[in-house]
């Protein structure tokens, strides 16, 4: 057991890859076996990752489950893993969402099943590696390779303009990542110039002393890489396409996990590495975040396609998360991290429901539906819960996160927060209006007459998510108590740098308003 716990992160990261290897040797004709095996293995993976939750010490911000081996001596890069309160939940979210999306794609994925399940499991390995690595080069390795399986998933099993969307997705994120790589390498070289040691150890790179002008340049470079992933307003255009054309499982992973990498990157890399630049650029980023919130919401209202609607709602919700993170108070960052989990669960669930609608009716246009609630009561009830969770109804998870974000950022950035609050109202408008048009009213389309209710497998798919919506909504302390020490430490780093920042501000007369 002790050895298991010592290498648990490696086990968790590479178990899906091993599962994928096992699946390579299964005959591709045995589609049922492939699906079941992949689902069971991903469930096992989720079970293993629960050990992290159990053995996680919630009273410290220090990294836990640390593993460290020499990797490339010439660069000072090492295989360095460790998690804190934030990455713990990101890892759990990843393992859960992979299981859910594999379970959801029994019907949706009809051909090339073997390739699909293998790619999903490979993708899982790289996502987990990204969350767990504390070595910048290792992080980048996991981060960028992640694109490739996702690209195949969108391009091979997507619908409509899938190739266009897949290529757009890859090129956007690749361009962002490469600019980010420039920033990371520059910090690495700066650290070498200051200490004489090559190292990619993130905890050591935190101590790099970067001159302010360079810090701003590097922050912008790294910002581009993460902002594309989040996505923040002007960099979001890949997202509706990728989300809309991806298969359900791909959308769930995209919304559930991939978007979190951007925020996680800001939390783990951009802000602690360059705190002063982050503080100086905060107003600009907050403006972008608020624009994301309102713009995403407004565009959602007018969408005719269900999936596009949910995709734009993601832009809006991710804006909230960015607002919370860059408000940089303990409460708002707490809320932001919790909202990352919430968004993964709620939006993941919404995509699952849209996927079920599409499987039954082969259309995603809102106008083609109507009156489904009478035909499929279970579906209607569960869908309603997911919608309300996304709207932020008290008692469900979305409320806790958004409330914390708004409370945390209100004192410091009152105007931004007031504007952001309108996003919640808009969310109620577009989600509830959509729900009304799809589920209620009379059946206008004859094809909706024989709309089937959820099968047992489908209920099983969404049940864990529904459970978590209530659990986080009613008792968020299980999550917050583990997140909080990390967040407090993070905020302390910022506060520590605020003194220097204020000096600079006074000197340069920056942002006096």
């Amino acid at each position: 057991m002790s050895i298991f716990l010592k290498y648990i992160l490696s086990i968790i990261i590479f178990f899906p890859l091993l599962s994928a290897l096992i699946l390579v040797f299964v005959n591709k004709k045995a589609e049922g076996l492939l699906r079941n095996l992949a689902t069971v293995l991903s469930l096992a993976e989720f079970a293993i990752s629960l050990f992290l939750f159990i053995y996680f010490k919630s009273n410290t911000y220090e990294f836990q489950f640390i593993e460290r081996f020499s990797w490339i001596r010439e660069f000072g890069a090492s295989y360095f893993l460790g998690i804190d309160g934030v990455s713990l939940f990101m890892i759990l979210l990843t393992t859960l969402m992979t299981f859910v999306s594999l379970l959801s794609s029994y019907k949706y994925i009809k051909d090339h099943v073997k390739e699909f399940v293998i790619l999903m499991l490979v993708l899982e390995t790289f996502m987990l590696g990204t969350f767990a690595s504390l070595d910048v080069l290792l992080f980048y390795l996991f981060w960028e390779f992640m694109l490739i399986p996702m690209y195949f998933i969108i391009g091979m099993w997507g619908s409509g303009r899938r190739i266009y969307s897949a290529v757009k997705f890859v090129l956007y994120t690749l361009a962002g990542s490469l600019i980010m790589l420039f920033g990371l390498i520059t910090i690495f070289i700066l650290h070498y110039n200051q200490t004489g040691n090559f190292t990619f150890n993130l905890l050591k790179l935190y101590n790099t002393n970067i001159p302010l002008t360079l810090q701003i340049v590097l922050f912008i470079a790294i910002f581009l890489g993460f902002a594309v992933k989040v996505p923040v307003f002007p960099f979001h255009t890949w997202l509706p396409d990728a989300h809309t054309e991806a298969p359900t499982a791909g959308s769930v992973i995209l919304a559930g996990v991939l978007l979190k990498f951007g925020v996680y990157g800001f939390f783990r890399f951009a802000i602690p590495l360059m705190p002063e630049a982050a503080l100086i650029l905060t107003p600009i980023i907050l403006v972008l975040a608020v624009i994301s919130i309102i713009y995403g919401a407004l565009v959602s209202i007018v969408q005719k396609d269900l999936k596009r609607l949910v995709a734009f709602s993601s832009v809006s919700h991710m804006g909230f998360i960015m607002l919370g993170l860059f408000a940089m108070t303990a409460v708002s960052v707490d809320g932001s991290v919790l909202q990352m989990i919430n968004h993964g669960i709620s939006t993941g669930a919404l995509f699952l429901f849209v996927g079920m609608l599409y499987e039954r009716r082969h259309t995603r246009l809102i106008a083609d539906f109507g009156g489904l609630a009478k035909k499929a009561p279970i579906f209607a009830a569960l869908f309603m819960i997911a919608v309300l969770s996304s709207v932020g109804l008290p008692g469900l998870n979305g409320f806790v996160g958004e409330f914390l974000i708004l409370v945390g950022s209100f004192k410091q950035y009152t105007i931004f927060t007031i504007f952001a609050t309108s996003g919640i109202i808009f969310a109620a408008v577009y989600l509830l209006w959509m729900f009304q048009r799809v589920m209620f009213q009379d059946i206008t389309n004859q094809k909706n007459e024989d709309f089937k209710d959820m099968t047992l497998r489908e209920i099983m798919t969404v049940l864990p998510l529904i459970f978590l919506m209530f659990f986080i909504g009613l008792y968020p302390d299980v999550f917050l108590s583990r997140i909080n020490p990390t967040v407090v430490h993070f905020v302390n780093i910022i506060e520590h740098n605020k003194y220097a920042y204020n000096l600079i501000k006074a000197k340069m007369g920056l942002f006096n308003a």
């Binding site: 591709k28 990797w71 490339i72 001596r73 010439e74 660069f75 090339h112 390739e115 080069l137 980048y140 390795l141 996991f142 981060w143 960028e144 390779f145 694109l147 490739i148 690209y151 195949f152 391009g155 091979m156 899938r162 190739i163 897949a166 290529v167 890859v170 090129l171 690749l174 361009a175 490469l178 600019i179 790589l181 420039f182 390498i185 520059t186 690495f188 070289i189 070498y192």
Partner: protein, 540 residues
């Protein structure tokens, strides 16, 4: 182990011979192949010469390994065997080895004279090695000529095909031109400095740098000489304004020869460029770094833009190799211990990924499954999952996606450049590689994501056309008939294709695949190898 250098120590001629032992072995085997051609009947010839060539490369490796700890100067200081050579010899021999493995299958289906081909390959490989180890301007010129003449003949080796002949002709005319530049440059440098040895020139410039009375016209001579020398070498490295021969000759040459040109010749050219660069150009005389800086940017930008427009796979890879030359040049510009070892690492990585891609192209070409037109690759990823996955992997490596050798190489080179302060160069290079990803991904899109309905027809068309031109081997008919049945029999088709592709080709692909992966995941041993070999550059 037998320590050759110890035994021959003190005997000048023997020591000279020892300094070119790995090359000499190859030349001996090249002649053996020609001799064996006299005695055997033609049908056996191709097999014999193939194995003789492989044995020759193996012996060369063996000598390289035995001598690897020594630094031997030979032929009155015009040739040196040092650690720097050991690394580049390894890369060049690997490139030659992979080329020979690919050649058998390729030439078996075409009616050309076989034994001479293998001996020419060995000759050109030994010329590349000579080029890398020469430290004298005359020797550099001789080796480049030796290497080029072999390459001209090899390019035109498909006698009946006009494209091949045209390629050889273009390559020859432009190549001769470049050689003239090189020679002219050497003459000017000799006139300005009075030396031919790189290190003596280096010392001379070093002294004159502080000498205000250095005659003005000699200064001009030196400038002209350096520029002409750069032009001559840039031609072989296919840097931007001097690249014009590359696409045509890569396209027209037999594919294994294209591989040899893209990997071996490029390595040799960069090897000698590094030698010249670290000695003669090392003081940044006449702001040469700025010239190279601009050359690098132009090369990669042009290469990538041109590659984007190609529909022919071999031309695409040719242009992409121009772009790769731009990335490699960044390492040289970054310079120093870190930059040069990064360049060496990139060169080795480049061998594996390019050779791998060419091996797969040959495989598809040989089985008449696809022409070199990108369109004919549509849907191939489903029909041949293993080959398709391997090809995608090589392309991703060329694009510089992590977990592959290409990423590590780029990372190494770019971080060296940032270390030397070339921020903008790296930003432009990174934007370029994001841009380049598009056309690599375009091929993967073709293989995996085009409509399945159409490609059956397309594939048969290309099949038919190819089998008229080329005598198809029996197994092709099987694979063709399976291909007709669509994706239902993919497993069977895969089995057939793997069986009918020569095992040598598959071995080549597997070697490339393994090394591309290892260099991407655990590059530590190769990086230390490169770093160790770089030290010998400055210690003569």
């Amino acid at each position: 182990m037998l320590d050759l250098a110890q035994i021959y120590n003190g005997y000048y001629l023997e020591k000279s011979l020892l300094s070119v032992m790995p090359e000499a072995v190859l030349i001996v085997f090249a002649f053996l192949i020609l001799l064996a051609g006299l005695f055997n009947n033609p049908s056996k010839n191709s097999v014999n010469s193939y194995y003789l060539a492989l044995i020759g490369v193996a012996f060369s490796f063996l000598y390289l390994f035995m001598l690897s700890d020594h630094t031997i100067k030979g032929f009155y200081g015009s040739i040196v065997f040092d650690k720097f050579d050991v690394f580049l010899f390894t890369a060049i021999l690997l490139s030659g080895f992979l080329t020979i493995l690919m050649s058998k299958n390729y030439f078996d289906t075409r009616s050309v004279l076989i034994p001479e081909y293998y001996s020419l390959v060995l000759f050109s490989v030994s010329a590349m090695m000579l080029l890398v180890s020469s430290i004298n301007l005359i020797m550099i010129f001789l080796s480049i000529e030796f290497m080029s003449i072999c390459a001209y003949i090899l390019t035109g080796y498909l006698k009946g095909e006009s494209r091949s002949t045209e390629a050889a002709m273009k390559y020859f005319v432009l190549g001769t031109f470049a050689s003239a530049f090189l020679l002219f440059g050497s003459v000017f440098i000799y006139a300005a400095t009075g030396h031919l040895s790189l290190y003596k020139i280096h010392n001379f410039i070093f002294e004159q740098n502080y000498n205000a009375h250095y005659a003005y016209n000699l200064h001009t001579f030196l400038a002209i000489g350096l520029i002409l020398l750069l032009v001559g070498l840039a031609f072989k490295m296919s840097l931007f304004p001097f690249h014009a021969w590359t696409p045509d000759s890569y396209d027209g040459a037999p594919t294994p020869v294209t591989n040899l040109m893209a990997t071996g010749i490029k390595i040799a050219a960069f090897g000698v460029f590094i030698r010249v660069f670290t000695s003669i150009y090392s003081f940044n005389v006449f702001n040469f770094y700025n010239i190279l800086w601009i050359l690098a940017i132009l090369t990669m930008t042009f290469g990538n833009f041109a590659a984007l427009l190609q529909t022919d796979l071999k031309r695409l890879i040719a242009y992409s190799s121009i772009a790769q030359a731009g990335y490699i040049l960044i390492g040289v510009i970054a310079g120093g211990y870190y930059g040069i070892s990064g360049t060496l690492f990139y060169l080795l990585a480049y061998v594996f990924m390019t050779a791998g891609a060419f091996a797969i192209i040959i495989m598809f070409e040989n089985l008449n499954l696809a022409s070199v037109n990108i369109k004919s690759y549509s849907g191939l990823g489903y029909k041949y999952p293993l080959a398709g996955a391997a090809f995608s992997f090589f392309l991703l490596s060329l694009a510089g996606i992590p977990v592959t050798a290409g990423f590590m190489g780029k990372f190494f080179v770019f971080s060296a450049a940032i270390k030397s302060g070339y921020y903008w160069l790296v930003v432009i290079a990174l934007l370029n590689s994001a841009f380049a990803a598009y056309y690599y991904i375009k091929i993967i899109v073709k293989m995996y994501m085009s409509d399945n309905n159409n490609n059956g027809g397309q594939l048969n068309l290309s099949n038919g056309r190819n089998s008229i031109i080329i005598n198809a081997v029996n197994t092709n008919k099987d694979s063709q008939s399976y291909a007709d049945n669509g994706s239902g029999k993919t497993a069977l088709t895969e089995a057939v294709s793997l069986k009918s592709a020569a095992p040598a080709l598959i071995i080549a692909i597997i070697i490339c695949l393994i090394f591309t992966l290892i260099l991407g995941i655990f590059p530590q041993p190769v990086i230390s190898f490169a770093s160790r070999s770089v030290t010998s550059l400055w210690s003569i």
